[in-house]
């Protein structure tokens, strides 16, 4: 890494007793830029968070200091139960995700398993599918009486009891895991790609077989990646709103996010919601800190270099078992839910099965021609996500550039702020935004701006991680050549840096776009009647349980997503969404 190799002229020159005006005149544009970025990040990240904490300590109305909100938020057994449920759900989903994804990652990265492309495509599809759509798919698959799987199970075995009941803690965890495991896959695979075969060879020479070597050498080497992604899925799971609302309510499992929703019932108790959310934030920060600490203690030296040889391990017949596992996961996470959703979207009544008289276009007709909001919400989704992606990538790129090139003092502070939303559950962030900007003086509630800002902040870390990887990969010598030839820093950036960064940045933009277009938990408290997005409208539509219309709308959302994913694949590369920055 070349950062800081050359003393750069842009570092603010020590002031030589100039007046303020003089100093401002001598300041390079980059210092002004620093100020601007700092202001933007404070607005997007620091202030909503500070407001969240402040509001949680204020009495309703008077604004006086109080701890009463915490007493209310944690004063009932039911509320604490919801917190415990969330934590358990997080652990279960993350554990299942690891069980699902680690063998797949190992198979794809280290072995001679056939059909790796297919496995990869399935992981990708599971990643792209919005979790609440998967949840609805699973209701259709595994409803205890009417679920396709259970009907088939009863027909085949003659059993009375259902094979799987989606309305249960296990069902809920599995459905979440089936849409979160790609995170584990991405991280563990990236780590496995770096482990050289020599390590395994050494183990083999010392008498260990393939399995022992994997268990005792390879897996421990990627343990940090497994742990890190476990924490990520945990955080994802406890912050989910759609899946717990759709499956958890019938299953009678109350979790933190559905409880937070209750605090927004009349009378709106933002201060109690804030107080209730703070421990969630602490859990998250604590986990990240614990992970840092754990990894800090152990030296995983072998991971750093790219040296060493990597050969696929010959598995013999076992490779078919692994392929079967990948296929099963693909079936459960993507193929089956999509099939039943597709059937439902063309059905009069989804429980009536496949038959001609059950076939209808009514659901699509209702959405495309009769529903007042459906198409507006499609448009909202596109332009909110596009604006948020543009803003996030722009800010992230500038911050990444300043931080990586060490152009200013305290650049890291910007980097820290840009990454901070990573550890803030989306729904908590939304409450911070509601507390900070919904009411006066800005009164942004119900405006597009509020949602775009929240999306920008929420997905800033993705944009930042991508941008900073891209900037780091760019050697400063090229820019220096430009500057030696007389170009200013901004000219150099425009003429040299920007063209080189175009492709990775487009990738970052598309990732933010795709994840923003399906975001529910950050949007659900912030939308107004005219600013509902597809995710929120899907949630509204699901209230009445008419899954036929919901499935049709989900189909429209998936088509939209696929268009942008296809653009990304064509312009940026096939694996643009699954690269670990």
């Amino acid at each position: 890494m070349a950062e800081g190799a050359v003393p750069l002229p842009a570092a603010p020159a020590p002031a030589r007793r100039l007046g303020l005006v003089g100093r401002l005149r001598r300041a390079e544009p980059v210092s002004l830029l620093w100020l601007l970025l700092a202001a933007a990040l404070v607005f997007l990240v620091a202030f909503p968070l500070a407001k969240l904490v402040a509001v949680s300590l204020e009495a309703r109305g008077s604004g006086a200091f109080t701890l009463a909100n915490y007493a209310t938020a944690y004063g009932r057994a039911r509320y604490i139960e919801a917190l415990i449920n969330s934590l358990m759900l997080g652990v279960a989903s993350a554990g299942l995700s690891v069980v699902i994804a680690v063998p797949m990652a190992w198979a794809v990265s280290r072995t001679d398993m056939p059909g790796k492309g297919l496995a990869w495509a399935l992981v990708f599809a599971a990643f792209v599918m919005p979790p609440y759509l998967g949840a609805i798919g699973w209701i259709l698959l595994a409803g205890p009486n009417s679920g396709v799987l259970n009907i088939a199970w009863r027909a085949v075995t003659g059993a009375e009891d259902p094979l799987v009941d989606v309305y249960s803690f296990g069902g809920l965890s599995l459905v979440i895991a089936l849409h979160s495991f790609p995170l584990v896959f991405i991280f563990v695979r990236a780590a496995l790609d770096l482990v050289s075969s020599e390590m395994e060879d050494a183990a083999n020479i010392l008498g260990a077989g393939t399995w022992t070597a994997m268990r005792k050498v390879t897996l421990p080497l990627v343990l940090p990646a497994i742990l890190g992604s476990f924490i990520l899925v945990f955080l994802e799971a406890i912050a989910l709103f759609g899946t717990p609302a759709i499956i958890g309510i019938p299953a009678r499992i109350n979790v933190v996010t559905t409880q937070l929703w209750q605090f927004f019932e009349y009378p709106v108790r933002v201060e109690v919601a804030a107080a209730y959310a703070i421990p969630l934030l602490l859990v998250t920060v604590g986990l990240i800190a614990a992970q840092k600490l754990l990894l800090h203690r152990k030296g995983f030296v072998s991971q750093t270099g790219k040296g060493g040889e990597r050969r696929p391990i010959a598995l013999g017949p076992w490779r078919w078992l692994l392929l079967g596992w990948c296929g099963l996961i693909g079936l459960l996470s993507v193929v089956l839910p999509l099939l039943v959703l597709l059937q439902a979207s063309f059905a009069r009544a989804w429980g009536q099965g496949l038959s001609l008289e059950n076939l209808t276009l009514r659901n699509y007709r209702l959405l495309l021609f009769e529903h007042e909001m459906a198409l507006t919400a499609v448009w909202n989704t596109v332009w909110f996500s596009a604006s948020a992606a543009t803003a996030a990538v722009l800010i992230a790129l500038l911050v990444a550039y300043i931080v990586t090139r060490r152009l200013v003092l305290f650049g890291e502070a910007l980097g820290f702020l840009a990454m901070a939303p990573f550890v803030i559950p989306g729904i908590v962030m939304a409450i911070g935004f509601y507390a900070a900007y919904a009411g006066p003086p800005l009164a942004l509630y119900g405006t597009a701006a509020l949602i775009i800002l929240a999306f920008t902040a929420r997905f800033m870390p993705i944009a930042y991680a991508q941008s900073s990887a891209a900037v780091r990969a760019l050697h400063p010598e090229m820019e220096e050549a430009g500057r030696i030839l007389g170009g200013s820093r901004l000219t150099t950036i425009r003429r040299i840096t920007a063209p080189l960064l175009k492709t990775p940045l487009l990738g970052a933009w598309l990732i933010v776009f795709v994840v923003a277009s399906r975001e529910l938990s950050a949007a659900v408290f912030l939308v107004g009647p005219r600013t509902r997005t597809m995710a929120v409208l899907l949630y509204d539509l699901s209230e009445q349980g008419n899954f036929e219309v919901v499935a049709a709308y989900g189909g429209i959302l998936l088509v939209l997503t696929m268009i942008f994913v296809a653009i990304g694949m064509a312009l940026v590369g096939r694996d643009f969404m699954l690269r670990r920055p």
Binding site: I249, P250, A349, E372, G446, P529
Partner: protein
């Protein structure tokens, strides 16, 4: 009290038909024309509603747009408590977005009125409502726009008619364990009203027993209909008659049950918030809702007409042959929040 002779009804229907022919402004009654002219400068309204089903609400919005060309009704349909939550969030943030608010929990209105959040308006067309539905508020802050009937229903393939429950207490029989479906009072306004009524009649014990039968809990009161259609559950509790009849008309194997104790009726109003951004269009929409226009649309979706000059939906029992159960508005305002909390304690969600 809802009694009206067939001949009167036919005459009235003919008059109403003449009324509803949409289009040109000169055909509108004078009071509507005046409002329409003022409304055209505003262009649109945003309607928060939890009363009619999503599909019906969209149809109401379209009918309004057709009758008053140039105006647009933004339909924001959700369960009533969610609609109220949206309105509360607007008020909390000091942002005015809602022009007309329609909820099945009629307790909302006395609360909003007392807090001075509603705009006073007397729609002329309200004089033509069913007599029992007139004068919902003597001070004219809100007017009836919805008469919802909530009953029992069963899937006829899973449960024979003879075995189906006949009364509200029949569903407490342990033989219905794992077969019931019901909405949630934290979301559905009507379910809150129903819970208040059941508690009034049978005490909270009713819900303790219901809980032992492990009903599947959806959010909307309409949710059980989908579960019955799919065969996921066999008996729907406190389901709206309109959605059930509509579903039957579409070929689903359902049957509506009139509980022996009587049918739960939610006679629910709509109101204009004090700070409505489009007050003239909102007033016009109140005229539309209390006039024959709304009733003619909703009866096609099997909802109860609220005017004597529009016949009730097909397949529904005439209202004068049905016992209607309902708590008072005071009881609704006071007890719905209470039963919501009790519900959450009992059912855990």
């Amino acid at each position: 009290m809802f009694l009206i002779s067939r001949r009167e009804l036919l005459l009235a229907a003919a008059a109403a038909n003449a009324w509803v022919t949409p289009g040109r402004a000169q055909d509108l009654p004078a009071h509507e024309r005046e409002l329409y002219e003022a409304a055209k400068r505003e262009g649109e309204i945003t309607w928060y509603s939890g009363q009619y089903s999503a599909e019906t609400s969209e149809a109401i919005g379209r009918a309004f747009n057709e009758r008053y060309p140039g105006l647009r009704c933004n339909v924001v349909r959700s369960t009533s408590q969610v609609a109220f939550q949206r309105l509360s969030q607007d008020m909390h943030a000091g942002v005015a977005q809602c022009d007309v608010f329609s909820s099945t929990d009629f307790g909302h209105y006395s609360l909003l009125k007392r807090e001075g959040k509603l705009l006073k308006y007397q729609p002329r067309n309200a004089a033509g409502l069913l007599p029992a539905l007139r004068n919902a508020d003597p001070d004219d802050f809100y007017h009836t726009t919805f008469l919802g009937l909530y009953q029992l229903a069963h899937n006829t393939r899973k449960v024979a008619e003879a075995d189906a429950p006949k009364s509200w207490t029949d569903v407490l029989d342990p033989k219905w364990r794992d077969q019931l479906a019901v909405g949630h009072p934290g979301f559905s306004g009507a379910i809150g009203i129903w819970a208040v009524q059941m508690r009034k009649m049978y005490g909270w014990d009713y819900f303790e027993k219901l809980e032992r039968n492990r009903p599947q809990i959806g959010r909307s009161s309409i949710d059980p209909i989908t579960l019955l259609n799919a065969g996921e559950r066999s008996v729907g509790v406190a389901v709206p008659s309109a959605s059930t009849l509509l579903s039957i008309s579409r070929g689903n194997p359902l049957r509506l049950i009139y509980p022996t104790e009587g049918v739960l009726a939610t006679i629910s109003p709509s109101a204009i918030p004090q700070n409505a951004p489009h007050p003239n269009t909102a007033k016009l929409f109140m005229e539309f809702q209390t006039g024959p226009g709304l009733s003619q649309v909703i009866r096609q979706y099997y909802a109860e007409s609220i005017r004597p000059d529009v016949p009730p939906p097909e397949g529904a029992r005439p209202l004068d042959q049905v016992t209607l159960l309902s708590p008072t508005p005071e009881e609704a305002e006071k007890y719905v929040p209470e039963v919501r909390e009790l519900w959450r304690d009992t059912f855990g969600i």
